[in-house]
């Protein structure tokens, strides 16, 4: 059985993720691999990644209810060294963002050198959600998008909205 040696910490975190999900975030482990999570993050309000109607219904905090866009799929894996090493996370939904590359890899300090075992899956996902609200073109992963963002921000934001509409429909 692949999951028989699952550390207590991971079991605890998983239970809490399922019983008290953070607003706009859902994460559930795969049936055949409890270290591998399917994640959905709703684009934050007033960001180019928000769903077209999501701000109208503040009660809609869980994923899957909003069908108008702004639903981003991610995958997350807890490596063997976790929590001494950071979780591995990437976007599966295409997204136009200076800190996320074409393969969905995320440039975020806490996933790299700023990782601490005091952080959790929940804090990682909240940080990614916050990154959507605050793109950081000065520490880019996608050079072209970062350049676009720094030179013509309004236009870049429009492209991000367009991609949200095209790819993050939640379908």
């Amino acid at each position: 059985m692949a999951n028989s040696n699952l550390p207590r910490r991971i079991i605890k975190e998983t239970q809490r993720l399922l019983s008290e999900p953070a607003p706009g975030i859902s994460a559930s482990p795969s049936e055949d691999n409890m270290r591998y999570f399917n994640v959905m993050i709703l684009g934050p309000t007033q960001s180019p990644y928000e769903g077209l109607g999501s701000w109208r219904s503040p009660s809609t905090s869980s994923c899957g209810v909003v069908e108008t866009g702004g639903v981003f799929k991610l995958e997350l894996f807890l490596p063997e060294e976790y929590p001494m090493a950071a979780p591995k996370v990437r976007f599966l939904t295409k997204i136009y963002h200076p800190n996320i590359d074409k393969l969905g890899r995320i440039c975020l300090d806490i996933l790299k050198d700023k990782w601490s075992p005091a952080l959790q899956i929940r804090t990682v996902l909240l940080s990614i959600q916050a990154l959507l609200s605050a793109p950081n073109p000065d520490d880019p992963l996608s050079e072209n998008i970062a350049k676009h963002w720094k030179t013509k921000e309004a236009e870049a934001v429009e492209t991000a909205k367009e991609w949200t509409r095209l790819y993050a429909s939640g379908a």
């Binding site: 059985m1 692949a2 999951n3 028989s4 040696n5 795969s30 691999n33 270290r35 591998y36 995958e75 894996f77 490596p79 063997e80 591995k88 990437r90 599966l92 295409k94 074409k102 393969l103 969905g104 890899r105």
Partner: protein, 146 residues
Amino acid sequence: MTLGSGGSSVVVPRNFRLLEELERGEKGIGDGTVSYGMDDGDDIYMRSWTGTVIGPHNTVHEGRIYQLKLFCDKDYPEKPPSVRFHSRINITCVNHETGVVEPKKFALLANWQREYTMEDILTQLKKEMATPHNRKLVQPPEGTYF
């Protein structure tokens, strides 16, 4: 080093395993005689890869640059990728008409294990070129393709 194994029950899922392989390939492997990279930087599922093997010393393959195509389907790495030579080559495990590396004649594919990597495949093919039954075979002209 084997990627994706830890001698324990932790199973690295397909996509994260391929990301590890991608990063390892980008850094460059060993003496550079085998290398690989992804074909389509937009393919979120990282299916198509091109591998390169430089023919080993003291063989008819010496100095030749062989290009291969590797295809990692959804069931990789539980199942091996399909592998075929793009550059023409004459060795026993490669189909003479299609360039496909035939698993029946190439043990690494026939006895595939999940911790094997694309690097292992390319390295093993390089060794295959230097075996007594392959090192002296007459080769098609350099720079021709299947």
